[in-house]
Amino acid sequence: MLEAVELRKVFKGKTAVDHVSLYLDEGESVGLLGPNGAGKSTTISLISSLLAPSSGDVRLNGNSVIAKPQQLREVIGVVPQEIALYEALSAYENLKFFGRIYRLQGKQLEMKIQELLEVIGLRDRQKELIKTYSGGMKRRVNIAAALMHDPKFVIMDEPTVGIDPQSRNHILETVRLLNREKGTTVLYTSHYMEEVEQLCSRVYIMDHGRIIAAGTTEELRRILSGEDTLLLQLDKPDEKLAQELRELEPVRQVEEMDSGLKLIVTKQSHLLSEVVQAAERHRVQIINIHVQTPTLEDVFLHLTGRTLRD
């Protein structure tokens, strides 16, 4: 098991990570969810021993690895958010380099490279330079480079940022394969709620450097079990209407969207009529009303008062 215990990191007086505790059991796929600037990348750097914490501990199977991180480094693979590859080299040469720094050589190295190129679907284009690849292809090689030494734990920092849907699906499939077929433990960081919901059995939600909620996706949704999500499609945006709805007793959160408003409300039978009346007063036409069960996105909105993409 890999645990972070009360991790704290302060940069020039500013707390980036504030008493974060989390754990990864072997074979699990765990999500770390939070908006940009929540402290996810710093947490990953602390867990993977790239940064020393201001306080707190990182433990591998119960043993602290802060002072001697070598034992941890042997078993983790980190996929950084940035494309950490040599752009002037081919995918094959990059993987060869990352294999060689993990002391792989000869047939073993060659087999591993070809195996991973197959997994990421770039075997046919392995000789092409990274700089000629699309963003999605680069991200796939970025993942493969972290897997050269068959790590037990893989930590992925927003591996799908800014890529096309096809590459995104390929990456998600690769993560599933790693976790379900190879038994690799995955810590998947993202601000895409739907990815975490698809891939992870447990989720930590982070904001302003703190873990604000943790549990399985079901447990987190249950935070909003006494609430509904109301999607109002309006003919035009109206701030005054949003303001009036915010002041209604059963309304917990109001988020303005392109097509209308999203309301998180306590389950209450009289609310709909109040909403319709308020819309009439503001001369706003309600085109459609949709009541849905809460998603993790709604949980995040409920907990922080803002969306993941804010």
Partner: protein
Amino acid sequence: MNPVFMAQWMKEKRSPLMVLLFCGLSIIATLLFGQSADSKLKIGAFPASGVEADTAEEWLEVLNANDAIEFIMMDERKARSEVNEGRTDAAIQLMEKDYRIIASIDNPNVQLVGQIVHSAFMEELQLRAAEQFSNDAKAFREGVESFLENPPLAVGVQTPDGKDLIEYDMNLQLLFTFTLFLACFTIGYKINSITMEKVSGIWSRMILSPVRKSEMYMGHLMYSSLIGFIQIVTVFLLFRYIVGFDLGGRFGMLIIVAALYTLTIVAFSMLLTGILRTPEQFNMVFPSVIPIMPLISGAYMPPGTITNQFLLLVSEVLPLKHAVDAMVKISIYDAGWPDVFLPLAKLSMIGVICMGVGINLMERRKG
């Protein structure tokens, strides 16, 4: 260390343009500026109207017996236009038994030309006058020449240890300056790839691998040193065996100084990389700082040109000054190790300090 070194080599193989460009620039700059550094004054000469071409050629031969000025026969119009346009200080109009100096300004060069031409004409005309009183003019001329070859009183200039005075070769100094200066760029940009790897995240990936940090630094430093060293040696070999420069009898010593200089520049670049935060900052500051080095060191100018005490003090911390100093001593003055100990010691000290401070700054930055 090997994978790090090899990755740099692979990148180099893909785009060798920078190294080739700086090698080429060293060669071109030395050839271009070396030619203009030829210290011999060149003065045009032309016959006056009515003077036979043979007579003018005879006077030209007499004038060119001196070592300080080279007189070149040319068309009158060209000679006059060169003086008028300031491309040369003076021209000489050659007459039967006289001359005229054509000059647009009065400066020390014109005076020197005047002295040399006057002395040559006086000597030759005196000899011709004396010939008229001898029975055999040819025998008289030979007797005078033989007498001048073994004069009863000879004045010579020698070094304190009794050796002949060595003529300073500015071309060699420029070769060393341009080669070492341009190698700085190759080395600097290679060292900058450490910062680039840190920014891109490759460095962090290596930290997580079994490769030790010392190996990561060594891989980069060894590669940058080697590529810079190969560039310097290639240019030296080219000038020695193809262009035909006389680099002296101690080529091996020159190579060792080049190796030490390369290591010092690697350290100097590490210091700058440690001070500057991003590859972009380095790319902006490095090409602005490095060209100042040969200027302050006085490496483009003959020795002793820079006399300002402040500039001399600043130049003491610049590796180029000490490397050129040592190379000039070795190649021109045939100096041995004890003679170049001081510049080499200074080079080594600069290298050690820059490397220590540079790596320290880089490691601290991580936070």
